[in-house]
Assembly symmetry: C2
Homo-oligomer: 409 residues x 2
């Protein structure tokens, strides 16, 4: 199965994006990683990974909006605010170190200190797993030592070690080849964990992404924030995040290359590459979970504002009735409109229209005679696009969701 996102942005004529087969975060030059079994998850399962760069790199982060951010989230925010850079990252699974009070803060600090001592800092910490239980900190610190001693280029081990309810590891990397006069190439790779649509399940979503191109931190943050909005946030609902959700983006390491500054035209190409990696990882998360057989891209257009488009897309993507219809391969468009009518956005049946794949099925307030077999076939394909036009303006948004089958729960 290709790990390319189901919907790649239209390829820019300024950059060619080529998937690196079997690639991941460690496909980025200058990065190495290690993984170990600490016993926090049942042995011999890998449950702790470290990723380290040869030198500190500029680093951007997007964090959970949950009112109870976990201790490692608070630590990462503070480190990035102070330094804007990171050299190493540790990710443990099985225990989220969330809602653990002052003990939790001390444990996250101890992990960072141990990692910095072994692999150099600034050192970031990510955690995922049970909420509300204190970390078995001795096991975790010993794990950081062990993982730091076994560095390699194995993307698989790192991706395995950060899994919780995931059934498959999630990695993706690509080489970006700039076209036109520059001919410069760079790599973007990433690793992620998470399963199913995030809402309303709210399993933790973590991702670490990197590129070897050195980029000034503020520009990097903009690229990451916009890319997350159009990838991980398209499988979630705005603000609907667990205590630990974190996405990091590291940049740097390329020899003899000046740092890319805010006004460099190459940034658009970098953003296309980062967004593509984020969308591949997000799509892998949606595919892993709920016994998912197929994906649905809910595209809403003709909205007055982007926020309004997102609300309607979310209402459709989160509807269990729509998701069970998708599982049954039954193009039940009535459920889609009913869900849309629930988004709290003023709509009129007379001006709304609905397409499934390329077929218009509802317009002018009523059902449009359509080829039912063709529709059902469309609905049974491995990914189906549903397009809802609201007839209120020209803003749009989209969400990616999966079907809901009996294997869920």
């Amino acid at each position: 199965m290709s790990l390319l996102p189901i919907e790649t942005q239209p390829p820019s004529d300024e950059v060619e994006l080529v998937e690196i087969p079997g690639g991941g975060i460690l496909s980025v030059p200058g990065l190495r990683g290690g993984a170990t079994a600490t016993g926090v998850q049942p042995a011999p399962r890998l449950d702790l990974a470290v990723i380290t760069a040869d030198q500190p790199r500029s680093c951007a982060g997007v964090f959970t909006k949950n009112e109870f951010p976990a201790a490692p989230v608070k630590l990462c925010k503070s480190v990035l605010k102070e330094n804007g850079r990171a050299k190493s990252v540790v990710i443990n699974s099985g225990n989220a170190n969330a809602l653990t009070g002052l003990t939790g803060d001390r444990d996250a600090q101890a992990m960072s200190a141990k990692l910095e001592q072994r692999l150099g800092g600034p050192a970031l910490v990510l955690s995922t797993g049970v909420i509300g239980e204190s970390l078995p900190i001795e096991k975790v610190l010993r794990g950081i030592e062990l993982a730091s001693e076994s560095l390699s280029d194995s993307n698989e081990a790192v991706a395995q070690a950060i899994m919780t309810t995931d059934t498959v590891p999630k990695s993706f990397a690509l080489e970006a080849r700039c076209l036109g006069s520059s001919k410069e190439t760079f790599v973007v790779g990433g690793v992620a964990k998470g399963s199913g649509m995030i809402h309303p399940n709210m399993a933790t979503m973590l991702a670490v992404i990197a590129t070897d191109l050195p980029i000034e931190q503020e520009a990097l943050q903009g690229i990451l924030s916009r890319s997350v909005q159009r990838s991980f946030n398209a499988i979630s609902v705005d603000g609907d995040t667990s205590t630990n959700d974190t996405v990091l983006l590291l940049a740097g390491g390329m020899k003899n290359r000046a740092t890319v500054l805010d006004d460099d035209p190459i940034l658009e190409r970098v953003e296309a590459a980062v967004r593509t990696v984020c969308r591949s990882l997000a799509t892998q998360i949606v595919r892993d979970g709920e016994g998912s057989q197929r994906l649905m891209v809910v595209s809403v257009e003709g909205a007055k504002t982007e926020e309004e488009a997102q609300r309607v897309a979310s209402a459709v993507a989160c509807s269990n009735l729509v998701k069970t219809a998708l599982a049954g391969g039954d193009a039940n468009w009535g459920r889609i409109l009913s869900a849309a009518g629930n988004a709290g956005v003023p709509l009129s049946a007379d001006s709304v229209s609905l397409r499934i794949g390329g077929e218009t099925i509802f317009a002018d307030g009523t059902c449009v005679p359509a080829d039912t077999e063709k529709l059902d076939e469309e609905f049974r394909s491995s990914s189906v696009r549903v397009t809802l036009s609201l007839g209120r303006g020209n803003r749009q948004a989209e969400m990616i969701t999966s079907d809901l089958t009996k294997e869920y729960v």
Copy 2:
């Protein structure tokens, strides 16, 4: 199993509410009903019911907030606005007559006209079932004729005929005995359909409730609106409704009794009785669905506003992670707080506290040592109360939800 709601309001010292075993909407004096199989649902399944009163009665209604209200919803609103009264109601299942354009409006009108001709008007129409397909109107009109010819007092047949994905019929009735000087008695009974928690499933919820006490329409509307808020809306999410959701309340028929006016102190007792019937029906809906084994009452207190309390309660009640923890009988309080932290309400871990049953499990920013076995036992009981104090004010709200088990979908 008693059909009393899991949480009855504290019994007023002014009224005694006594469940009528096997009772329902037709336990109310002066009402009769009939049911038939039209063939819209696979024969011989009953799929159309009529309910009729000996005389027109004052009638209140609460309707879906969906942007695409079905044709019968529009018809009911218009009839009630014009008359404030109703004599008969027809409910068909299998086809919702929603998103059916002008044809749908004509079909709803035809149903109302046929019912009025057979059993007298004003005649109301409720529909539930597939969205977006035109009604097989000839079958439905013939069904109204047949059901009107077979009137009886059978609550069971009416409750059966309005089911769609429901696995059990839902009825409840009680006799209210006023205490103190008046000693007056009256009956409140109702029938409903719907299954599982309404969000995010959004299966249609219909209910028809009646009392034999004659009550002025405006006062009746107030009673119904407030009762729905504290019953059916406590199993849903504000505004999250299907195209057809409707609750009706009819009042009248008692011989030699003057109409109860707006300022009559008996209205408080009526409201306690109506609210109890609504809560029983709502609880039956939650229990029917998702393979539900047990219920959870999510109670939020210490909020700044009631709306804020509702948002937090909804976030917890709708969390699939919380619902699967409930199914597993695992008092995973971290998931409850994580869900609460997602409600978009500013919270601080230091001022929030959480009780499961009577046990405090989280306070002052960290876990409180508690009797784990006792907690798990509480969480495995047939209904568990979870109380979250936000430490922000003195407003409160509650939601009722069910566990999420493998039988769902």
